[in-house]
Subunit: 615 residues, 2 copies
């Protein structure tokens, strides 16, 4: 396209953004208009994308990090012939694929955006896949707002991209000077952004974002830059082209008031069609499967930490499946991801202490068909909760493994203890939450996770624990194990997971001395939960005690209570959990102080049974 | 002190770090040893601190961001005479104040550390208090590791500190080259850090961190630098002084093996005492109270969004109380914090789109006695979950307000919807979780929050809702309101909060048409929960339906179920919540699609009642 045509296409994208938001009665046309010329140039001259085959391995990737500028994205799709004008005008309406912020309900959208500062970290993950795994020369383009450059996650990604020499990654910052409520910190000072990015090792280009020729040259320069990612810092004007809103405060996230006049001012509707370049031939990823994984086998009675079992199982899974990759946030010696890293260094991604980048890289890698396992301390996954939440909106399939669960870690104290992780992961849409108590169980669950959908979370423990199950025992997700039962003689049921399973078994022994036979359930699958087994236990024993190394809210106790929320009669229930603020102490002392050790369990069961027997 | 004495003090701090970790059998002596000379110089020549009066308003602040180097901190306290040798050797033992990572159980520790990348953001909050509120020339020193410079939160803080010209803030980076599992990205390349910090507007100084004279000069230079924060980049060696561990991998987080030999190598035990400089006289903060706040009053039947009521109430609270401050992450027009910002600009802190810095600044401000209210969309508070979790460990009193709760926001779609926030905040130790449905209720709760302890969370809604309560109605935290009741005739109880209260009332009307009288409870206090009222309702109606604009896990349904976890007979329960993945739609359509509107509630109650009547 000639530059005049590109400029005209930019106006068309503006017109369609205005029209879409006008039809919706909401949306962000002014944020779309600032980036319209950039989008026109990218779509016409640089992006290689087969809209008929979004799964084409050679396709470039375009991530609209400023997801609120969705009208621009949809206008691009229309210009490329991927959506028609009727669909464009369904924007933000019930049932439309054109949501307020883009999601993978559209086949050309890899990841949902709309929580700012996520596009670049996820783009880094895709670019890593391209460089290190796919070895396909697709490029990753991330269009970001200037406001979102304040997010720390952006700088984790900036550092990681430069460190990994991701020259297949181009960041375009639409520096339109205005955030939601007013001016950004740096307004139109492009050099403020360039200085920062340059200091981190990026190649930077400053342009007038409405000069299509300059933008075109910038993209070309980015493509020819090697060993460095490139950032194009584009000075633009929010609401560009419509005087009533251009570069003015107070017009964020609102349709342009007089749409008809605005469209006329923009030169009226156009119907330019862009023949987007097809990607070169590329073969898919090389992910051979070598049969079923040879999972590690542990002997009953040995003592093994579940984090260690995780490490060995992941290594074995990696040997059997070429699509499995591992990531860690600089604690692989603690999480035991190091076993995988040593065995499969080409598929291991060190993310350093940057948990948002850790999860974002996993999300990026799974867009390319890989099965990522990302690990750090359970406590530190809280750092990435927004990325986990958005991973669910992205329909991403990722495995997250949090080690050092609960007070049982001992001396390191509360800052290192995962005590909110079950709550955090249970409340994520479509998630799976697993908490094994035994090495063989862990190994089986690590393998099972790979083939689930959505966000999968595995909680591992620091300390050694006795192996309870044989290596051939099956552990279906959504299941549980009844470890002790005396049939209808059971007077109560103890429901536990992880370290508290072992305490529950000791408590059962103590209670036997008092003549109180109890059932013990190992609820290793916290979500989905084994409602049937819990119901059977409730029917047989009439009362349940849950015990967990987690705060009382959102974890095992809540999961068990929820199993009885179908309107049927519920058993009497009580729960033990970490209600104190822990300090430093030995693991045994910690369990005792928190009131979740065998002694506390036995005492609680006695109280519960007495109430049942004589209410 | 002469420089030889300073060097000797550095050795003493090393010896004591080795001794403490040896006595504990765990801990991080090598991470302490790298920074010992820096600590010696700071303590002896620069820090002004009255250990007898940690509340002294003129005290400098020292935040050990690399909290795992706690043995160094405790060795400093010993050198200053604040703890004795016996207490030093209680390190990491049950009951000791000297925890594995520092917490405010020690009166000289303002905030807990141990989750890396938090010290600087919190330090920025304290420095902001010093500059803008206290107007006291205390300095804030943050000692950080080099590994934690990978955390995005650090760069949010770096940007914020420079933008606010915090020349009262000094960051010392202990560049010891080694992280937990191996070398850092930049190892001893001090300039890599300096370039980045300089680009963000910091003054930077590169020194040999074991050259006490150079370190001393660097601190002096930092103190004389105006309009810019200063970063001292100190090249150090992990495990410095003990050849067996110095600058070697594999010795992170482990006591030195042969402690006796190591102590001898370090020159043996010493007993240098540091007479720490006292701070200059300073008067406390100027926080006049002008009587009770004149909260806004809304008329029953008017429609007002709870976020708007929050904004007005916060403004009024700010007028009555000089200690109340407000912060926002660039969405004050949406959260309505803008009302406070306009009325009290001197106590308003714009944090831009940096939610970790938002919460960290609130934590920093509360260490100086202020009562912060920090707001953004509920969904985006997930970005700061690790800071919220650590705020609880810090015993921080902060108010967090999340707007745009649930699917009821409408067209913007799932990325903008707070659907995990109740779970996230409920599971925080000692937290309070409030979710009003009405403008007068909101105003009362905003005022009540100010005087609570711990992390307080208020969930507000985007859309206008009818005012249900008069302006003089009391709303105690931990209470609830029975909005409909027919005494023992009630066949079921609907428990709701926020927008679902209004749907529940409509459902009650629908059910009345079917001849099913129901009780409706407005459970505005989700934590603590009103167990008594719920028990009464359970006793009277036998069955409860919870309905919430939140995912099914961790929120209102779990809170209500937990109210029946004391071993007593529980009612039959069922729950409605957002189980679908929402897309764009009108608020009404969203409630319908999620199955939490009046129609869905009425249908669920009928099913529940039928089961109760004929199980």
């Amino acid at each position: 396209m000639h530059y005049e045509q590109l400029a005209s296409l930019g106006q068309q994208l503006r017109v369609d953004a205005v029209r879409a938001a006008d039809a919706a009665g909401s949306g962000h046309p002014t944020s779309s208009m600032s980036a319209a010329d950039i989008a026109a140039v990218l779509l016409s001259h640089h992006l290689r994308f087969d809209f008929d085959h979004p799964e084409h391995p050679g396709n470039d990737r375009f991530v609209l990090s400023k997801g609120h500028a969705s009208p621009l994205l949809y206008a691009m799709y229309k210009a490329a012939g991927a959506v028609d004008d009727d669909e464009l005008l369904t924007f933000r309406k019930l049932g439309s694929r054109l949501e307020g912020h883009p999601t993978p309900r559209l086949p050309w959208v890899d990841v949902a955006t709309g929580s700012l500062g996520q596009g670049l970290p996820v783009g880094v993950g895709i670019a890593l896949a391209g460089k290190r795994l796919d070895e396909i020369p697709y490029r990753v383009y991330v269009l970001s707002g200037d406001s979102e450059m304040a997010e720390g996650s952006v700088w984790e990604a900036v550092e990681h991209a430069a460190y990994n020499h991701l020259d297949n990654l181009t960041l375009i910052v639409d520096v339109n000077r205005l955030g939601q409520r007013g001016p950004t910190r740096h307004e139109h000072d492009l050099d403020a952004y360039a200085r920062r990015l340059h200091a981190f090792g990026w190649h930077t280009i400053e342009v007038d974002g409405h000069d299509v020729e300059a933008v075109d040259r910038a993209f070309a320069e980015a493509r020819s830059t090697i060993r460095q990612p490139t950032a194009i810092l584009a000075a633009t004007r929010k609401g560009r082209g419509v005087a009533a809103v251009e570069d003015r405060e107070g017009f964020h996230g609102k349709p342009v008031k007089d749409a008809e006049a605005a469209i006329a001012e923009l030169g009226g509707p156009r119907s330019l069609h862009v023949e987007v370049q097809r990607p070169p031939e590329a073969s898919g990823r090389k992910t051979a499967r070598n049969g079923a994984p040879e999972l590690p086998r542990f002997d009953i009675g040995d003592t093994v930490a579940t984090r260690t079992a995780y490490g060995h199982a992941l290594e074995a899974l990696g040997s059997a499946r070429g699509d499995v990759v591992a990531l860690d946030a600089e604690v692989s010696d603690s999480t035991r991801t190091e076993f995988f890293a040593k065995a499969h260094p080409e598929r291991y991604f060190e993310c350093y202490i940057a948990e948002q980048q850790l999860v974002a890289a996993a999300v990026g890698l799974q867009t390319r068909g890989y099965v990522p396992y990302a690990s750090t301390f359970a406590a530190f996954l809280t750092r990435a909760y927004d990325f986990v939440r958005m991973a669910a909106v992205s329909r991403a399939g990722i495995n997250l493994v949090g080690s050092h669960a609960g007070v049982a870690i001992g001396q390191d104290g509360p800052s290192q203890m995962g005590l909110e992780d079950l709550a955090m992961f249970r409340s994520v849409h479509g998630s799976t939450v697993l908490h094994p108590c035994d090495a063989n169980q862990t190994a089986k669950l690590v393998a099972a996770m790979a083939d689930l959908e959505g966000v999968r979370y595995l909680r591992t423990s620091r300390g050694d624990m006795p192996v309870l199950y044989g290596p051939d025992e099956p552990f279906p997700v959504g299941g549980s194990k009844v470890l002790r039962s005396h049939g209808d003689d059971d007077k109560a049921t103890i429901v536990a997971a992880g370290v508290t399973v072992h305490e529950a078994l000791k408590a059962a022994d103590l209670l036997a001395e008092y003549g109180i036979p109890v059932r013990v359930i190992d609820l290793y699958s916290v979500k989905p939960v084994d409602t049937e087994t819990l119901n059977d236990a409730a029917g047989a024993t009439g009362c349940l005690l849950t015990v967990e190394d987690h705060h009382p809210e959102g974890g095992l106790g809540d999961a068990v209570a929820d199993a009885f929320s179908d309107g049927r009669p519920a058993p009497r229930m009580a729960r033990l959990a970490v209600r104190n603020m822990p300090a430093s102490a030995t693991p045994e002392e910690q369990l005792h102080e928190a009131g979740i050790d065998a002694e506390a369990i036995a005492a609680a069961v006695r109280l519960l049974v007495e109430r049942v027997i004589a209410p």
